[in-house]
Symmetry: C2
Subunit: 229 residues, 2 copies
DNA sequence: CGGCATCCACAGTGATACTG
DNA sequence: CAGTATCACTGTGGATGCCG
Protein backbone atom coordinates (compact mmCIF):
# COMPACT_ATOMS: atom_id res chain seq x y z
CA UNK A 1 0.00 0.00 0.00
CA UNK A 2 1.11 3.49 -0.70
CA UNK A 3 1.84 5.54 2.37
CA UNK A 4 -0.36 8.52 3.14
CA UNK A 5 2.78 10.38 4.17
CA UNK A 6 1.05 12.15 7.01
CA UNK A 7 2.48 12.65 10.49
CA UNK A 8 -0.61 11.22 12.14
CA UNK A 9 -0.91 8.02 14.15
CA UNK A 10 -4.09 6.96 12.39
CA UNK A 11 -2.57 7.48 8.96
CA UNK A 12 0.53 5.54 10.02
CA UNK A 13 -1.64 2.69 11.26
CA UNK A 14 -3.50 2.61 7.97
CA UNK A 15 -0.20 2.58 6.11
CA UNK A 16 0.36 -0.81 7.72
CA UNK A 17 -3.06 -2.40 8.07
CA UNK A 18 -5.15 -0.40 5.60
CA UNK A 19 -4.71 -2.80 2.74
CA UNK A 20 -7.60 -4.91 1.62
CA UNK A 21 -7.84 -8.27 3.45
CA UNK A 22 -5.11 -7.39 5.94
CA UNK A 23 -7.31 -6.91 9.00
CA UNK A 24 -9.28 -10.02 8.15
CA UNK A 25 -6.06 -12.02 8.20
CA UNK A 26 -5.32 -10.56 11.61
CA UNK A 27 -8.83 -11.59 12.66
CA UNK A 28 -8.11 -15.19 11.70
CA UNK A 29 -4.88 -15.21 13.66
CA UNK A 30 -6.53 -13.62 16.70
CA UNK A 31 -9.11 -16.39 16.64
CA UNK A 32 -6.79 -19.31 16.03
CA UNK A 33 -3.43 -18.19 17.42
CA UNK A 34 -1.64 -20.51 15.05
CA UNK A 35 -2.74 -21.10 11.48
CA UNK A 36 -1.58 -23.11 8.56
CA UNK A 37 -1.84 -21.53 5.14
CA UNK A 38 -4.87 -23.68 4.49
CA UNK A 39 -6.58 -22.64 7.70
CA UNK A 40 -6.23 -19.07 6.55
CA UNK A 41 -7.67 -19.85 3.14
CA UNK A 42 -10.74 -21.55 4.54
CA UNK A 43 -11.18 -18.82 7.14
CA UNK A 44 -10.99 -16.15 4.45
CA UNK A 45 -13.44 -17.24 1.77
CA UNK A 46 -12.99 -15.14 -1.34
CA UNK A 47 -9.35 -14.18 -0.95
CA UNK A 48 -7.21 -14.82 -4.03
CA UNK A 49 -4.25 -17.00 -3.21
CA UNK A 50 -1.68 -14.57 -4.50
CA UNK A 51 -3.10 -11.81 -2.34
CA UNK A 52 -2.94 -14.02 0.71
CA UNK A 53 0.72 -14.69 0.07
CA UNK A 54 1.40 -11.00 -0.56
CA UNK A 55 -0.32 -9.96 2.64
CA UNK A 56 1.41 -12.58 4.73
CA UNK A 57 4.75 -11.34 3.50
CA UNK A 58 3.82 -7.73 4.20
CA UNK A 59 2.57 -8.59 7.66
CA UNK A 60 5.72 -10.51 8.42
CA UNK A 61 7.85 -7.65 7.15
CA UNK A 62 5.87 -5.21 9.30
CA UNK A 63 6.50 -7.39 12.34
CA UNK A 64 2.89 -8.31 13.02
CA UNK A 65 3.24 -12.01 12.33
CA UNK A 66 5.93 -14.65 12.26
CA UNK A 67 6.07 -17.79 10.19
CA UNK A 68 7.35 -20.77 12.11
CA UNK A 69 8.73 -23.78 10.37
CA UNK A 70 6.98 -26.97 11.29
CA UNK A 71 7.38 -28.39 14.77
CA UNK A 72 7.84 -32.11 14.00
CA UNK A 73 4.27 -33.46 14.30
CA UNK A 74 3.07 -31.08 11.57
CA UNK A 75 4.63 -30.96 8.16
CA UNK A 76 3.99 -27.36 7.33
CA UNK A 77 4.70 -23.79 8.28
CA UNK A 78 2.57 -22.03 10.86
CA UNK A 79 1.68 -18.37 11.09
CA UNK A 80 1.12 -16.62 14.38
CA UNK A 81 0.78 -13.07 15.62
CA UNK A 82 3.58 -11.29 17.38
CA UNK A 83 2.80 -9.15 20.43
CA UNK A 84 2.59 -6.16 18.17
CA UNK A 85 0.04 -8.01 16.05
CA UNK A 86 -2.05 -9.01 19.04
CA UNK A 87 -2.08 -5.36 20.11
CA UNK A 88 -4.48 -4.80 17.25
CA UNK A 89 -7.24 -6.65 19.08
CA UNK A 90 -8.81 -3.57 20.73
CA UNK A 91 -8.99 -1.86 17.35
CA UNK A 92 -10.55 -4.94 15.78
CA UNK A 93 -13.08 -5.19 18.57
CA UNK A 94 -13.97 -1.53 18.20
CA UNK A 95 -14.45 -1.90 14.46
CA UNK A 96 -16.44 -5.07 14.94
CA UNK A 97 -18.62 -3.43 17.54
CA UNK A 98 -19.29 -0.60 15.12
CA UNK A 99 -20.02 -3.00 12.29
CA UNK A 100 -22.34 -5.27 14.27
CA UNK A 101 -25.54 -3.39 13.34
CA UNK A 102 -24.70 -3.96 9.69
CA UNK A 103 -25.17 -7.69 10.17
CA UNK A 104 -28.88 -7.01 10.40
CA UNK A 105 -29.30 -6.52 6.67
CA UNK A 106 -27.12 -9.42 5.70
CA UNK A 107 -28.24 -10.95 2.45
CA UNK A 108 -28.03 -14.55 3.48
CA UNK A 109 -25.68 -15.02 0.59
CA UNK A 110 -22.71 -14.10 2.76
CA UNK A 111 -20.12 -16.70 3.59
CA UNK A 112 -19.98 -17.78 7.19
CA UNK A 113 -17.55 -19.63 9.43
CA UNK A 114 -18.62 -20.45 12.95
CA UNK A 115 -15.28 -19.54 14.46
CA UNK A 116 -15.91 -15.91 13.46
CA UNK A 117 -18.27 -15.76 16.43
CA UNK A 118 -15.43 -16.22 18.87
CA UNK A 119 -14.20 -12.64 19.17
CA UNK A 120 -17.57 -10.91 19.44
CA UNK A 121 -19.01 -13.48 21.82
CA UNK A 122 -16.04 -13.50 24.17
CA UNK A 123 -16.13 -9.73 24.09
CA UNK A 124 -19.80 -9.31 24.88
CA UNK A 125 -20.83 -12.28 26.97
CA UNK A 126 -20.01 -12.91 30.59
CA UNK A 127 -21.00 -15.37 33.29
CA UNK A 128 -23.46 -13.64 35.58
CA UNK A 129 -23.27 -16.39 38.20
CA UNK A 130 -19.57 -17.06 38.51
CA UNK A 131 -20.11 -18.80 41.85
CA UNK A 132 -22.19 -21.59 40.38
CA UNK A 133 -20.69 -24.63 38.68
CA UNK A 134 -19.48 -23.84 35.17
CA UNK A 135 -21.77 -24.44 32.21
CA UNK A 136 -21.30 -25.37 28.59
CA UNK A 137 -23.34 -24.26 25.60
CA UNK A 138 -23.01 -25.68 22.13
CA UNK A 139 -23.74 -23.60 19.04
CA UNK A 140 -24.56 -25.06 15.66
CA UNK A 141 -24.83 -22.28 13.17
CA UNK A 142 -22.45 -22.97 10.34
CA UNK A 143 -19.69 -25.16 9.03
CA UNK A 144 -18.70 -26.57 12.41
CA UNK A 145 -20.08 -26.48 15.95
CA UNK A 146 -18.67 -24.12 18.54
CA UNK A 147 -18.68 -24.47 22.31
CA UNK A 148 -19.05 -21.76 24.95
CA UNK A 149 -17.73 -22.41 28.43
CA UNK A 150 -17.84 -20.24 31.55
CA UNK A 151 -14.45 -19.73 33.13
CA UNK A 152 -13.86 -17.42 36.07
CA UNK A 153 -16.74 -15.14 35.26
CA UNK A 154 -15.87 -14.94 31.60
CA UNK A 155 -17.07 -16.90 28.62
CA UNK A 156 -14.63 -18.76 26.43
CA UNK A 157 -15.39 -19.98 22.96
CA UNK A 158 -13.63 -22.81 21.19
CA UNK A 159 -14.31 -24.67 17.97
CA UNK A 160 -15.81 -28.12 18.20
CA UNK A 161 -18.77 -29.80 19.84
CA UNK A 162 -19.29 -30.12 23.58
CA UNK A 163 -19.31 -33.47 25.32
CA UNK A 164 -22.28 -32.84 27.58
CA UNK A 165 -23.66 -29.39 26.83
CA UNK A 166 -26.11 -27.77 29.25
CA UNK A 167 -27.79 -26.16 26.27
CA UNK A 168 -27.63 -26.33 22.49
CA UNK A 169 -28.56 -23.57 20.04
CA UNK A 170 -29.25 -24.58 16.47
CA UNK A 171 -30.08 -22.15 13.72
CA UNK A 172 -28.82 -19.51 11.33
CA UNK A 173 -25.89 -17.37 12.44
CA UNK A 174 -28.26 -14.39 12.55
CA UNK A 175 -30.60 -16.11 14.98
CA UNK A 176 -27.92 -17.56 17.23
CA UNK A 177 -26.16 -14.22 17.43
CA UNK A 178 -29.38 -12.29 18.02
CA UNK A 179 -30.36 -14.53 20.90
CA UNK A 180 -26.97 -14.48 22.59
CA UNK A 181 -26.75 -10.72 22.34
CA UNK A 182 -30.35 -10.38 23.57
CA UNK A 183 -31.52 -8.62 20.46
CA UNK A 184 -34.16 -11.32 20.25
CA UNK A 185 -35.92 -13.13 23.09
CA UNK A 186 -35.64 -16.88 23.12
CA UNK A 187 -39.29 -17.25 22.27
CA UNK A 188 -39.12 -14.83 19.36
CA UNK A 189 -36.07 -16.64 18.07
CA UNK A 190 -37.81 -19.99 18.35
CA UNK A 191 -40.70 -18.56 16.40
CA UNK A 192 -38.20 -17.47 13.77
CA UNK A 193 -36.76 -20.94 13.45
CA UNK A 194 -34.16 -21.34 16.19
CA UNK A 195 -33.98 -24.67 17.94
CA UNK A 196 -33.04 -24.64 21.61
CA UNK A 197 -32.30 -27.67 23.76
CA UNK A 198 -31.86 -27.33 27.50
CA UNK A 199 -33.00 -25.17 30.39
CA UNK A 200 -33.75 -21.58 29.26
CA UNK A 201 -32.12 -20.35 32.48
CA UNK A 202 -28.78 -21.51 31.11
CA UNK A 203 -29.05 -19.00 28.32
CA UNK A 204 -29.94 -16.16 30.70
CA UNK A 205 -26.77 -16.79 32.65
CA UNK A 206 -24.50 -15.70 29.81
CA UNK A 207 -26.82 -13.66 27.59
CA UNK A 208 -25.70 -10.08 27.21
CA UNK A 209 -27.49 -7.53 29.36
CA UNK A 210 -28.60 -4.46 27.49
CA UNK A 211 -27.92 -5.56 23.96
CA UNK A 212 -25.26 -2.88 23.72
CA UNK A 213 -23.13 -2.56 26.83
CA UNK A 214 -21.31 -5.35 28.56
CA UNK A 215 -17.96 -5.90 30.17
CA UNK A 216 -16.23 -9.17 29.77
CA UNK A 217 -12.90 -7.62 29.11
CA UNK A 218 -9.92 -7.85 31.24
CA UNK A 219 -8.91 -4.21 31.30
CA UNK A 220 -6.13 -2.70 33.34
CA UNK A 221 -6.45 -0.60 36.46
CA UNK A 222 -7.98 2.55 35.09
CA UNK A 223 -11.21 1.56 33.58
CA UNK A 224 -13.40 3.54 31.29
CA UNK A 225 -16.80 4.73 32.28
CA UNK A 226 -18.79 2.00 33.88
CA UNK A 227 -22.41 2.19 33.02
CA UNK A 228 -23.96 2.18 36.41
CA UNK A 229 -27.33 3.67 36.40
CA UNK B 1 -15.36 -0.93 -2.48
CA UNK B 2 -16.23 -4.48 -3.21
CA UNK B 3 -17.91 -6.25 -0.35
CA UNK B 4 -16.13 -9.13 1.34
CA UNK B 5 -19.47 -10.93 1.49
CA UNK B 6 -18.75 -12.41 4.88
CA UNK B 7 -21.23 -12.62 7.74
CA UNK B 8 -18.80 -10.99 10.16
CA UNK B 9 -19.12 -7.63 11.87
CA UNK B 10 -15.53 -6.68 11.12
CA UNK B 11 -15.89 -7.53 7.45
CA UNK B 12 -19.13 -5.55 7.28
CA UNK B 13 -17.43 -2.56 8.89
CA UNK B 14 -14.61 -2.76 6.38
CA UNK B 15 -17.14 -2.94 3.57
CA UNK B 16 -18.16 0.56 4.62
CA UNK B 17 -15.00 2.26 5.89
CA UNK B 18 -12.26 0.06 4.43
CA UNK B 19 -11.71 2.18 1.35
CA UNK B 20 -8.59 4.22 1.06
CA UNK B 21 -8.90 7.74 2.55
CA UNK B 22 -12.30 7.05 4.10
CA UNK B 23 -11.20 6.87 7.73
CA UNK B 24 -9.00 9.92 7.29
CA UNK B 25 -12.04 11.88 6.14
CA UNK B 26 -13.84 10.73 9.25
CA UNK B 27 -10.84 11.89 11.27
CA UNK B 28 -11.16 15.38 9.83
CA UNK B 29 -14.85 15.53 10.65
CA UNK B 30 -14.27 14.25 14.17
CA UNK B 31 -11.76 17.02 14.69
CA UNK B 32 -13.70 19.85 13.13
CA UNK B 33 -17.35 18.81 13.50
CA UNK B 34 -18.25 20.88 10.47
CA UNK B 35 -16.07 21.15 7.40
CA UNK B 36 -16.22 22.88 4.09
CA UNK B 37 -14.94 21.01 1.08
CA UNK B 38 -11.83 23.13 1.22
CA UNK B 39 -11.22 22.42 4.89
CA UNK B 40 -11.24 18.74 4.02
CA UNK B 41 -8.79 19.23 1.18
CA UNK B 42 -6.30 21.10 3.31
CA UNK B 43 -6.75 18.63 6.16
CA UNK B 44 -6.11 15.71 3.79
CA UNK B 45 -2.92 16.59 1.95
CA UNK B 46 -2.38 14.23 -0.94
CA UNK B 47 -5.97 13.25 -1.65
CA UNK B 48 -6.99 13.57 -5.29
CA UNK B 49 -10.04 15.78 -5.68
CA UNK B 50 -12.08 13.18 -7.49
CA UNK B 51 -11.48 10.66 -4.73
CA UNK B 52 -12.58 13.17 -2.11
CA UNK B 53 -15.82 13.73 -3.94
CA UNK B 54 -16.34 10.00 -4.43
CA UNK B 55 -15.74 9.26 -0.75
CA UNK B 56 -18.01 12.05 0.44
CA UNK B 57 -20.80 10.67 -1.66
CA UNK B 58 -20.21 7.15 -0.41
CA UNK B 59 -20.11 8.30 3.18
CA UNK B 60 -23.31 10.25 2.73
CA UNK B 61 -24.96 7.26 1.10
CA UNK B 62 -23.81 5.05 3.97
CA UNK B 63 -25.34 7.46 6.46
CA UNK B 64 -22.11 8.49 8.16
CA UNK B 65 -22.17 12.12 7.09
CA UNK B 66 -24.66 14.72 5.94
CA UNK B 67 -24.08 17.67 3.69
CA UNK B 68 -25.86 20.79 4.86
CA UNK B 69 -26.53 23.65 2.54
CA UNK B 70 -25.11 26.93 3.69
CA UNK B 71 -26.52 28.56 6.78
CA UNK B 72 -26.70 32.25 5.66
CA UNK B 73 -23.38 33.65 6.98
CA UNK B 74 -21.42 31.09 4.96
CA UNK B 75 -21.83 30.70 1.23
CA UNK B 76 -20.98 27.03 0.92
CA UNK B 77 -22.02 23.54 1.81
CA UNK B 78 -20.89 21.99 5.07
CA UNK B 79 -20.21 18.37 5.88
CA UNK B 80 -20.74 16.91 9.31
CA UNK B 81 -20.86 13.48 10.87
CA UNK B 82 -24.11 11.82 11.82
CA UNK B 83 -24.37 9.99 15.12
CA UNK B 84 -23.49 6.82 13.31
CA UNK B 85 -20.40 8.50 11.97
CA UNK B 86 -19.33 9.78 15.36
CA UNK B 87 -19.71 6.25 16.69
CA UNK B 88 -16.54 5.47 14.81
CA UNK B 89 -14.48 7.51 17.24
CA UNK B 90 -13.57 4.61 19.57
CA UNK B 91 -12.34 2.62 16.59
CA UNK B 92 -10.32 5.57 15.34
CA UNK B 93 -8.82 6.11 18.76
CA UNK B 94 -7.91 2.45 19.02
CA UNK B 95 -6.26 2.48 15.62
CA UNK B 96 -4.48 5.72 16.42
CA UNK B 97 -3.27 4.34 19.71
CA UNK B 98 -1.89 1.32 17.90
CA UNK B 99 -0.26 3.48 15.24
CA UNK B 100 1.35 5.94 17.65
CA UNK B 101 4.64 4.02 17.96
CA UNK B 102 5.02 4.25 14.20
CA UNK B 103 5.37 8.02 14.48
CA UNK B 104 8.81 7.40 15.93
CA UNK B 105 10.38 6.59 12.60
CA UNK B 106 8.66 9.37 10.73
CA UNK B 107 10.82 10.60 7.89
CA UNK B 108 10.32 14.28 8.47
CA UNK B 109 9.00 14.45 4.94
CA UNK B 110 5.49 13.69 6.11
CA UNK B 111 2.82 16.31 5.84
CA UNK B 112 1.56 17.71 9.11
CA UNK B 113 -1.43 19.72 10.27
CA UNK B 114 -1.52 20.89 13.86
CA UNK B 115 -5.18 20.05 14.32
CA UNK B 116 -4.33 16.37 13.90
CA UNK B 117 -3.04 16.54 17.46
CA UNK B 118 -6.50 17.19 18.83
CA UNK B 119 -7.83 13.62 19.03
CA UNK B 120 -4.74 11.97 20.52
CA UNK B 121 -4.10 14.77 22.99
CA UNK B 122 -7.65 14.97 24.26
CA UNK B 123 -7.64 11.21 24.54
CA UNK B 124 -4.42 10.91 26.50
CA UNK B 125 -4.04 14.07 28.55
CA UNK B 126 -5.97 15.03 31.64
CA UNK B 127 -5.84 17.73 34.27
CA UNK B 128 -4.27 16.26 37.39
CA UNK B 129 -5.23 19.22 39.55
CA UNK B 130 -8.83 19.87 38.59
CA UNK B 131 -9.37 21.92 41.74
CA UNK B 132 -6.86 24.59 40.79
CA UNK B 133 -7.67 27.45 38.43
CA UNK B 134 -7.71 26.33 34.79
CA UNK B 135 -4.60 26.67 32.68
CA UNK B 136 -3.85 27.25 29.05
CA UNK B 137 -0.99 25.90 26.96
CA UNK B 138 -0.16 27.00 23.47
CA UNK B 139 1.45 24.64 20.97
CA UNK B 140 3.36 25.80 17.91
CA UNK B 141 4.35 22.78 15.89
CA UNK B 142 2.99 23.19 12.41
CA UNK B 143 0.84 25.21 10.10
CA UNK B 144 -1.14 26.93 12.83
CA UNK B 145 -0.96 27.19 16.63
CA UNK B 146 -3.17 25.05 18.83
CA UNK B 147 -4.34 25.76 22.35
CA UNK B 148 -4.89 23.31 25.21
CA UNK B 149 -7.24 24.26 28.03
CA UNK B 150 -8.16 22.42 31.19
CA UNK B 151 -11.89 22.00 31.64
CA UNK B 152 -13.45 19.99 34.44
CA UNK B 153 -10.50 17.68 34.80
CA UNK B 154 -10.16 17.14 31.10
CA UNK B 155 -8.03 18.80 28.48
CA UNK B 156 -9.61 20.39 25.45
CA UNK B 157 -7.75 21.31 22.31
CA UNK B 158 -8.80 23.96 19.84
CA UNK B 159 -7.09 25.50 16.84
CA UNK B 160 -5.67 28.99 17.24
CA UNK B 161 -3.37 30.86 19.58
CA UNK B 162 -4.07 31.49 23.25
CA UNK B 163 -4.53 35.02 24.62
CA UNK B 164 -2.45 34.62 27.74
CA UNK B 165 -0.98 31.12 27.77
CA UNK B 166 0.52 29.76 30.97
CA UNK B 167 3.05 27.90 28.86
CA UNK B 168 4.11 27.71 25.23
CA UNK B 169 5.70 24.76 23.46
CA UNK B 170 7.52 25.44 20.22
CA UNK B 171 9.15 22.76 18.13
CA UNK B 172 8.65 19.93 15.70
CA UNK B 173 5.49 17.85 15.99
CA UNK B 174 7.65 14.92 17.12
CA UNK B 175 9.12 16.88 20.01
CA UNK B 176 5.90 18.51 21.14
CA UNK B 177 4.09 15.19 21.07
CA UNK B 178 6.92 13.34 22.81
CA UNK B 179 6.98 15.86 25.66
CA UNK B 180 3.22 15.94 26.18
CA UNK B 181 3.01 12.15 26.21
CA UNK B 182 6.00 11.97 28.55
CA UNK B 183 8.08 9.94 26.15
CA UNK B 184 10.70 12.65 26.57
CA UNK B 185 11.50 14.71 29.63
CA UNK B 186 11.29 18.46 29.24
CA UNK B 187 15.05 18.77 29.57
CA UNK B 188 15.75 16.11 26.99
CA UNK B 189 13.31 17.75 24.62
CA UNK B 190 14.93 21.12 25.14
CA UNK B 191 18.27 19.55 24.37
CA UNK B 192 16.72 18.20 21.19
CA UNK B 193 15.53 21.61 20.11
CA UNK B 194 12.21 22.23 21.83
CA UNK B 195 11.55 25.72 23.14
CA UNK B 196 9.48 26.02 26.29
CA UNK B 197 8.16 29.21 27.82
CA UNK B 198 6.54 29.22 31.24
CA UNK B 199 6.67 27.33 34.51
CA UNK B 200 7.65 23.67 34.02
CA UNK B 201 5.04 22.73 36.63
CA UNK B 202 2.34 23.73 34.15
CA UNK B 203 3.45 20.97 31.85
CA UNK B 204 3.47 18.37 34.62
CA UNK B 205 -0.14 19.15 35.39
CA UNK B 206 -1.42 17.79 32.07
CA UNK B 207 1.46 15.57 30.91
CA UNK B 208 0.40 11.98 30.51
CA UNK B 209 1.30 9.64 33.35
CA UNK B 210 2.73 6.36 32.17
CA UNK B 211 3.20 7.22 28.53
CA UNK B 212 0.65 4.61 27.64
CA UNK B 213 -2.43 4.56 29.84
CA UNK B 214 -4.71 7.47 30.66
CA UNK B 215 -8.39 8.22 30.87
CA UNK B 216 -9.72 11.47 29.69
CA UNK B 217 -12.84 10.16 28.09
CA UNK B 218 -16.20 11.75 28.42
CA UNK B 219 -19.08 9.43 27.56
CA UNK B 220 -21.84 8.90 30.03
CA UNK B 221 -24.03 8.16 27.02
CA UNK B 222 -26.05 11.28 27.62
CA UNK B 223 -24.79 13.72 25.06
CA UNK B 224 -21.92 14.07 22.70
CA UNK B 225 -20.28 17.45 22.62
CA UNK B 226 -21.48 20.98 23.04
CA UNK B 227 -18.28 22.34 21.67
CA UNK B 228 -19.27 25.90 20.87
CA UNK B 229 -19.27 27.87 23.99
C1' DC C 1 -11.63 30.88 -5.08
C1' DG C 2 -14.68 26.83 -3.93
C1' DG C 3 -16.52 22.68 -5.88
C1' DC C 4 -16.38 19.72 -8.67
C1' DA C 5 -15.86 16.65 -13.64
C1' DT C 6 -12.77 14.40 -16.93
C1' DC C 7 -8.88 12.04 -18.65
C1' DC C 8 -5.14 8.91 -18.39
C1' DA C 9 -1.14 5.93 -16.68
C1' DC C 10 -0.56 2.58 -13.59
C1' DA C 11 -0.66 -0.09 -9.27
C1' DG C 12 -3.63 -3.14 -6.86
C1' DT C 13 -7.18 -6.68 -7.10
C1' DG C 14 -9.68 -10.91 -8.34
C1' DA C 15 -10.37 -15.16 -10.89
C1' DT C 16 -8.32 -19.03 -12.66
C1' DA C 17 -4.79 -22.10 -14.06
C1' DC C 18 -0.60 -24.26 -13.04
C1' DT C 19 3.47 -26.44 -10.24
C1' DG C 20 6.93 -28.65 -6.79
C1' DC D 1 -0.58 -28.68 0.59
C1' DA D 2 1.46 -24.43 -0.26
C1' DG D 3 2.18 -21.70 -2.98
C1' DT D 4 3.49 -19.20 -8.44
C1' DA D 5 2.06 -17.40 -12.70
C1' DT D 6 -0.92 -15.14 -15.79
C1' DC D 7 -4.09 -11.79 -17.11
C1' DA D 8 -8.43 -8.91 -17.36
C1' DC D 9 -10.08 -5.51 -14.79
C1' DT D 10 -10.92 -1.78 -11.40
C1' DG D 11 -9.45 1.70 -8.26
C1' DT D 12 -6.09 5.15 -7.35
C1' DG D 13 -3.22 9.12 -8.09
C1' DG D 14 -1.87 13.02 -10.64
C1' DA D 15 -3.09 16.57 -13.71
C1' DT D 16 -5.97 19.62 -15.78
C1' DG D 17 -10.30 21.84 -17.18
C1' DC D 18 -14.71 23.90 -16.25
C1' DC D 19 -18.12 26.87 -14.14
C1' DG D 20 -20.51 30.04 -11.02
Amino acid sequence: MRSYKQFCALAKALDVIGDRWTLLIVRELLIRASCRYTDLRTGLPGIPTNLLVDRLRELEHAGLIVREEAPPPIATALFRLTGRGRDLEPALQALGHWGAPLLGKATGKDAFRTHWLKLPLEHHLCDKMPGRPPITIELRAGDEPMTLETVEGRVQARPGAARAPDAVLIGSPQLVLAVLTAKLSLNDAKAAGLRYEGDPAILLRVQVVSASQATNRRRPATQTVRSTR
